[in-house]
C-alpha cells in the first residue's frame, strides 16, 4: 500500500507491505539503521522513535500507522536548525559519558528527549522511572541518568533564550 508521512522533516511517499514493522521499514527499506532492534518482546527500547512527537517502540508499530503522521528518528535529532550542532541531549550524553557500546543509545536519546519535553523539571526519580522501558547493559544507568538530567536542563535553557 502507499503511505505518505513526514520523516525527519521531509515529506516521504512509500509503497509498503502492510505487515512491515516500522523498525524494519526504517532499517531495511529506508536504510536508516540508527534505530536498533535489541529484542523481540518490546522490552529493550533500542528502537524508540517519535511518532507525532510521542515516544513509541517502533517494533510495535505497523507501517500503515505512519500514513499522515510525523516521524522523527535518531538520524533527524539535531541541534538548532542550521547550527550543524547536535541536540542538547546528545551533547549531554557525550559530556557525561552516558553511553558505552552505543547500541541502546538511539532509543535512550529518543526516550530522554521525550521525557524532558513532557516534564521541564525532571527529578532523578522521574528519569529512572521514565527509562524503565529502555535497557542498557553497559553503563549501570548512572551516567545515563546524569546525562538526561543535564540534557533536560540544557533543552530548557535553550528554549528560554
Amino acid at each position: 500500500m502507499q503511505i505518505s508521512f513526514t520523516l525527519n522533516g521531509r515529506p516521504t511517499n512509500l509503497d509498503v507491505e502492510p505487515a512491515t514493522l516500522v523498525a524494519e521499514l526504517l532499517r531495511e527499506q529506508l536504510h536508516l539503521t540508527g534505530t536498533h532492534i535489541g529484542c523481540d518482546t518490546s522490552q529493550c527500547g533500542a528502537c524508540v522513535v517519535h511518532l507525532n512527537g510521542l515516544p513509541v517502540k517502533s517494533c510495535t508499530l505497523l507501517a500503515p500507522a505512519l500514513d499522515g503522521a510525523t516521524l522523527l528518528t535518531i538520524e533527524g535529532l539535531t541541534g538548532a536548525p542550521g547550527s550543524n550542532q547536535m541536540h542538547p541531549m546528545q551533547e549531554a550524553f557525550r559530556e557525561h559519558h552516558g553511553l558505552q557500546c552505543g547500541f541502546c543509545t538511539p532509543g535512550m536519546l529518543m526516550t530522554a528527549v521525550a521525557l524532558a519535553t513532557e516534564k521541564p523539571d525532571l527529578t532523578e526519580a522521574d528519569v529512572r522511572h521514565g527509562l524503565e522501558g529502555n535497557i542498557c547493559r553497559c553503563t549501570g544507568y548512572q551516567n545515563i541518568v546524569i546525562s538526561v538530567m543535564a540534557g533536560a536542563a540544557a533543552m530548557h535553557d535553550a528554549k528560554g533564550e
Partner: protein, 795 residues
Amino acid sequence: MGNVIGIGAAPKRKEDQRFLTGRGNYVSDIKRPGMAAGVFVRSPHGHALLRGIDKSAALASPGAIAVLTGDDVADDGLGSLPCGWGITDAKGVPMKEPPFPMLAQDKVRFVGDMVAFVIAETPEQANAAADLLKIDYEVLPSVVGVLEAVRPDAPQLFDDVPNNICCDWELGDKAAVETAFKKAAHVARLSLVNNRLIGNPMEPRAAIAEYEPGTDRYTLWTTSQFPHVVRFLMGALVLNIPQHKLRVVAPDVGGGFGVKQFHYGEEAVITWAAKRVRRPVKWVASRSEGYVSDRHGRDHVTEAELALDETGKFLAFRVNTLANMGGYLSTFGPNIPTNLYGPLLGGVYTTPAIYCNVKVVFTNTVPVDAYRGAGRPEATFVLERIVDVAASEMGIDRVEIRRRNMIPKEAYPYQTPVLVQYDSGDPMGCLDGALVAADVKNFGVRKAASARKGKFRGLGYSTYVEACGLAPSRFAGRLGARGGLYESATVRVHPTGQVTVMIGTHNHGQGHETTFAQIVSDKLGVAFENVDIVFGDTDRVQFGMGTYGSRSLVVGGAALSKATDKVIVKGKKIAAHLLEASEADIQFEAGKFSVAGTDRIKTFEEIAGAAYVPHNYPLEVLEPGLEEQAYYDPVNFTYPGGCHIAEVEVDPETGTVTLVNYTAVDDVGTVINPMIVEGQLHGGIVQGVGQALFENAVYDEGSGQLLSGSLMDYCMPRADHLPMMKVATHSTLCTHTPMGVKGCGEVGTIGSPAAVINAVVDALSHLGVTHVDMPATPNRIWRLLQNASLPVAAE
C-alpha cells in the same frame, strides 16, 4: 592544531559522535549486493536422537535457496568446533572432549542446538521454509542440574563420558589442608549455588559471510570480541580455509561481556554456506534465539569449609564445586570454573593452605563459558560469603575478621598457595577508604530510620582481588591453554605526523579509541585528534587476541606503549642525522627532538616528513618510513581488587530487596581516563547486582526447556532498580606492566555479588538467616521470612 591529551585526563570519547547520531556500523546494519538471508533451525528438545531430516517441502518453499544439515557438514569433511583449553585431572588425565558439531549429527544435546541452516531470498521466506522442515526426533530425558547429572542413573549425554563428568580437576595441597582442619578451633561451613546467568549484550549476535570466486577469498562480518581468533579457529580448525584467504571483520559491536568472545558454530556454518550458494548470506539472531544459543555463565553448586584458629585467623580453606559446562565444550569453557576460579580462592587473605576440587559436568543446557568476571566472581562469592559466616559464628566483627587476615601492603609481592603471585596491592587501604566513603559509622542511624518504616536494613562487605590482563602465555600454556595470549600493536606515523594505530584488541564499549589515543598523544606529543585507532578487521590489523579478561589496556596498551617507544627510538636516529649530533645526545620531550643542552630542535612532524622524503637521511643505516610494531606477552597476571560496600533495605511485607547505597573503592593501577574507568566500574557493579538480586537462567529438569528465555522472564537491571553509586580508586601501581595499569573491566562484577548478598543476610540476621542464594528475589526472601518466623527457625 589540537591539544595533546595525556594519561590521567578525561577527554570526551572519540567514538561517541557516530553512536549519538545513529551512524554506528553494526553487523546487522551492513548490506551486501545480492545478499540472501539465513535462519538456523534449532532443537526444541533438551535431549533427543536425530532420526532424519526431510528437506523437500522446505526446498520447494517460495524463495528457498538451500537447506544445510549435519549430513552436509559430514559430506564436506569439516571439523567440529574446537575448545581452546585442555585441562587435566589430578592424575594428569586429559578432560573428556567430545566433538561439538557445528550442525547436530545423530543427537541434539540442548534446546537451541543447531540442526539446520535454511537460506532464502528474504528472512521471511527463510523462516517460512524453515517451518516446513520435517525433523524426526526421538526425545530422551534431559538432565540440566549438576547434582542430578552426576547421579549414576542420570541421562548420559555422551557414550564415552561416564556420569557426565568432563574432568575431575583439583588445585592445592589437600593433605596440608586436612592437617590444618584437625587443628582448627572453629570450622565454618557453607553450601551455595552460583546462579546461571545470560549475558544479554544489547546487540544480538549476527553474521554476514561472502565468498569471492575470483580470488578464492572469504569475508566474515561477525559480532565478535576477537576476530583474529575466529579467523584462526574457524579457518584452520573447522573449515580448512587458509588464513590468507579469510578476512574476519568485527565492526562496531554492541556489547560483549564475554558472550561474543567464542567461536560460534553460526560463524562457521554461514561462511561455509556462502561458498556453497555463491551468495552473501546474512543471519541476525533474535533475542529469543540468543537466550538459547549465546553461551551462558556461572552455574556452580559449591560446598566450602573454612578452618580458623581461636583468634579468627584463617588456617585453611577447602572448596568442592560442581560446575555446569552445558551440552558441549565452548571455546574457553573448561578453563573458567578451574583455572580462573581455584587460583583466586586465596582472596586478599593470608590463608596458608587451600584445596579446591571442581567437577566439570555436562548437562542438557546451553554451553557455559566466560561471562564478565568468569570464574573470579564465583571464587569471590564463595570466599566473601564464608568469611561473613565465620565472623558471625565466632562473634567477630566482619571488618575486624577481614583485617586480621588481610595481606598487609608491605607483604607484596605475595605468593599464594594457589599458583598466583600478587605483584602489588593495598587491600587495607581500599577497605579504610570504603568505610569512610560509605559512611559506615552512621549506618546504625540509617538502620534505625529504616526500622521506623518497617524495613530491615543491612550492610555488606566484599574485600576482594582478581586476576586479569589475560595472560602470560607460558603460564597459561602450563595450565592447558592451546594458544598464546599476547597482544600486538602497530603505530603508523604518516608523512604529516598524524598517527594510525592498528591494534589486536576489540572496542565494544570500553572506549579504546579514546584511551589508546591518549597513550599515543601523551608519549609522542601528537594532538589527541590526530590519532586514530583501528581494530576489528583481520585485513587491516596485523594480529591480535582480542578483548576479554580485562586485557585490552593491560596487554594491548602495553604493546602499544612498546611500539610507540620504538617510534621514538627511530625518530632519535633521524633527528641525530638531521641535527648533526650523536644519537645519545638527542632528547625527546613534548613532541620535540632536541640536542641536549642546545636550542637545536626538530619537531615530530619534521622527523615524520624526513622519514618519508629521505633526501637528507642516513639511508645506508636506516630504512625510510616511520612505522613500528610490537608484540607484548605479560610476565604475570595483574591483580586489581578493592572493597565494595552495599546497603540494602528489605521490605518484610513483600520480600523486596532494594539496593539503597553502593560504594566501591578499587585498586585498578594507573588510570588513563578516569571518566571511562568510572563508567566501567558502574557497569560492572550493576552486572553483579543483577546476579545478586534479579537474574537467573532457569531450566526445567526432565524436558530441558529454558523457562527464562526472554527479557520478559529473565529480569535485567533497569534504571529504577538502582541508587547513585559512589566509586573511587585507591591505586597501587602494577610492577610489571609498562604503565602500571591493572585493568578495570571486570572488577565491578567480581566484587559486587558478595557485597549485596552479605548485606541481605545482614538485614535478616536477627531472624536467624545465615545465607541467601542468588538472586535474592522478593519470592525467595518472602518465603525465607515465612519460615524464619516459625519458632523452630528462631532457635
